[in-house]
Amino acid sequence: MSNTTTTAEHQPIIVRRSFWQLAWRELRRAPPTAWFGMIVIALYIFAAVFAPWIAPYSETELVGGAYEPWSAQFLLGTDQLGRDFLSRLIYASRNTIGIAVLTTAISFTLGGLLGLLSAVLGGWVDQILGRGVDVLMAIPQLIFALVLLSIVGASLINLVLIIAVLDSTRVYRLTRAVAMNVVVMDFVEAAKLQGEKIHWIMTREVLPNILPPLTAEFGLRFCFVFLTISALSFLGLGIQPPTADWGSMVKENATLINYGNITPLLPAGAIALLTVAVNFVVDWFLHKTSGLKG
C-alpha cells in the first residue's frame, strides 16, 4: 500500500485508500476459517431476526405428544412437553443470543468506562478500582454467579445484571492495559498541557486508539458470556422456562441421550458452532491488527 515517492520533503508520501477499499482488500485476503466464521454468524443473525417467519410452529404451543421422533411433520421431533423442537431451536437463537449481546454490551460499557478512567486518572482512583477488581476476580465467575443467584433468585434481570457486573472486571483489566499503553504517549501529555478535560482526553485522545483490541475483546467477551449463560441455563439457574433457550433445552431433553437420540445435542451444538465462528473471526481480526507474523 505504501507508495513511497522520492521524498521531496514537502510532499505527503503515502497514497491513500478509503476505509471501504481497505476493508474489502482485507476480506479478500482472509483465511477460510474467518470466512466460515463470518458466514455462520450471518446465518445466526438471520435466524434470530426472522425467527417468527422461519419457524414452522410457535415457541410455546403444544403441538404433539412428548418426545415424538423426527418426522415430516416435526422435523426434529418434539420436546418433553410436546412442543416442536425445531421451532424452539430457532426461537432460542433470539433469546440466547439477544440476552448474551445485551449482557455483553452492559459489561463492556461498565468495564470499559472504568478501565479508561483508571488509566487516564491514575493515582488513588486507579488503586481503588484495581484492588476492587482484583478481589472480585479472585472468585471464579461461575461460582460467584451461583452464589448471587442463590440469594437473589434466577430472574432474567438478575441474571443479566450479575453476569454483566462480574464480566466487566475482565473488560476493565483489558481496557486499562491497552489504555495505559496509549496514556504514556506524548500526545496525551500534550493534551493535558493544553488544559483539556478528562472526558475529552478519554474519548477523543485515548479511545480511538484502543478500538481494535476492544473490538476483538467484545467478541471474546460475548463468547464467554454466551457460554456462561448457557451453562447456568443448563443447570437450571439461568433463563427460565417457558422461554426457549439452548442451554435449558439441552437439560430438559437430556434423557433422550440415554436412548441414543442425539436431538438434545443440537442446541448444544448450536452454542458451540456460534462460539467457534466468533472465535475464528476474532482470531483473524487480532492477527491483522496486532501485525503478528504467524
Partner: protein
C-alpha cells in the same frame, strides 16, 4: 536470597488478605436476601414460631458484621455451620455443612487430579511442538481443533462423549456413581468419562497458551543472538529458552488448573458425579445458603492458592531476584 523470601511472604500475605475480603463479600451477599426468605425455605406449613426461630438462627436480624465474624470464627475452627436442608420438617435431621462438603471435596479432588496428571504434560508437549513447528500443517490443524474444543460448552463435549462411549460403544457408564467404598480402579473406571471431558478442554486451552508463550519467548533478541553464535536449535531450546520459560508456563498451568475448578461444576452435573461442584449446584437450587457459602469459599481459596503458586514460581525463577545487583 532475602529479596526472594521477602517477596514470597508478601505474596502469601496478599493471598490471605484477599481470601478474607472474599469471605466478607460472600457473607455480605446475604444482605441481599428478600425479607420472606426464612418463610420460603421452611415452606408454607411452617408455624410463625418456627420461622422466627429459624430467622434467629441464621442471623437475619443481626448486623452483617456480627454475622460475618461468627461465620469466619466458625470456619477457622472447622465449623461451617448447619445445612438448611431439613429445617422445616419435624424430624429436623440437619447436618453440619462440613460433613456434607468433606467427602464431596475428596471426590472432586480425585477427579481433578486424575485429569491434571495426564492433561498437564500432554498439553505442554503438544504446545511446545506446535510452537517449534509453527505454521506447519500440524500446527494449523491443532489450532483449529483446539479452538473448537475451547469454544464448545462443557456439556456439549460431555454429551458427545456420552453418545459415543456409552450409547454406541458401551464402554463406560453414563453415571459416575462413586461413594466412600469404591475401590481405586473402579473409581478410575467410573470417572473416566467426566475426566476425559475435562481433559479435552484443559488440554486444548493449555496447549494454545503454551504455544503462545513459547512463540513469544522465541522472538526474544537473545534467542537470535544464540542462533548467530552457531548454536543448534535443540540446544537453544534447552539452554536458552527453557530457563526463561518456567514463569510463563507456570502461569499457564495455574490459570488452567483454576479453570478446571469451574469446569468441574458442569461436568459433575452432567455425569451426576458426587463432587463439590454438584453439591454446590444442588444447594443453590435448594437455597441451602450455608452450603453454598462454604463451597464458594473453598473454590475461591483454591483459585487464590493456584494463582499464588504461579506467582511464586515466577518469583523463584526470576534471575533479577535470584541475583540482586
Amino acid at each position: 536470597m532475602n529479596a526472594i523470601v521477602r517477596t514470597i511472604l508478601q505474596r502469601l500475605g496478599l493471598g490471605v488478605v484477599t481470601l478474607f475480603v472474599v469471605s466478607m463479600i460472600i457473607s455480605l451477599a446475604m444482605a441481599m436476601l428478600p425479607s420472606d426468605f426464612a418463610q420460603s425455605i421452611l415452606g408454607q406449613a411452617a408455624t410463625p414460631d418456627t420461622v422466627k426461630a429459624f430467622r434467629e438462627e441464621i442471623g437475619l436480624d443481626r448486623s452483617p458484621v456480627i454475622r460475618y465474624v461468627d461465620w469466619v470464627g466458625g470456619i477457622v475452627t472447622g465449623d461451617f455451620g448447619m445445612s438448611f436442608a431439613g429445617a422445616g420438617s419435624l424430624s429436623g435431621n440437619r447436618r453440619p455443612v462440613i460433613d456434607l462438603i468433606q467427602p464431596r471435596l475428596m471426590n472432586t479432588l480425585f477427579l481433578a487430579s486424575m485429569t491434571a496428571i495426564v492433561a498437564v504434560p500432554l498439553a505442554l508437549v503438544l504446545g511446545m511442538l506446535a510452537a517449534l513447528y509453527r505454521n506447519s500443517l500440524f500446527d494449523r490443524t491443532v489450532n483449529v481443533v483446539t479452538l473448537t474444543a475451547v469454544s464448545s460448552p462443557e456439556f456439549f463435549l460431555a454429551y458427545v462423549l456420552m453418545v459415543f462411549f456409552v450409547s454406541q460403544w458401551h464402554i463406560f457408564p453414563s453415571l459416575a456413581k462413586v461413594d466412600a467404598n469404591t475401590a481405586f480402579f473402579e473409581r478410575v473406571y467410573r470417572c473416566a468419562l467426566p475426566s476425559l471431558t475435562l481433559l479435552l478442554i484443559i488440554v486444548a486451552q493449555m496447549m494454545r497458551m503454551t504455544r503462545a508463550a513459547i512463540i513469544n519467548l522465541l522472538s526474544s533478541p537473545y534467542i537470535e543472538m544464540a542462533r548467530l553464535k552457531g548454536i543448534a536449535p535443540r540446544q537453544i531450546i534447552f539452554r536458552h529458552a527453557l530457563p526463561n520459560a518456567w514463569a510463563p508456563i507456570a502461569n499457564v498451568i495455574a490459570l488452567n488448573l483454576a479453570y478446571l475448578v469451574v469446569g468441574v461444576v458442569i461436568v459433575e452435573a452432567v455425569f451426576v458425579y458426587p463432587g463439590i461442584g454438584k453439591l454446590m449446584v444442588d444447594s443453590v437450587q435448594r437455597k441451602d445458603l450455608p452450603v453454598v457459602q462454604g463451597c464458594a469459599l473453598i473454590f475461591a481459596a483454591t483459585y487464590i492458592l493456584l494463582n499464588l503458586a504461579a506467582d511464586i514460581v515466577s518469583i523463584v525463577t526470576n534471575p533479577r531476584l535470584l541475583h540482586p545487583r
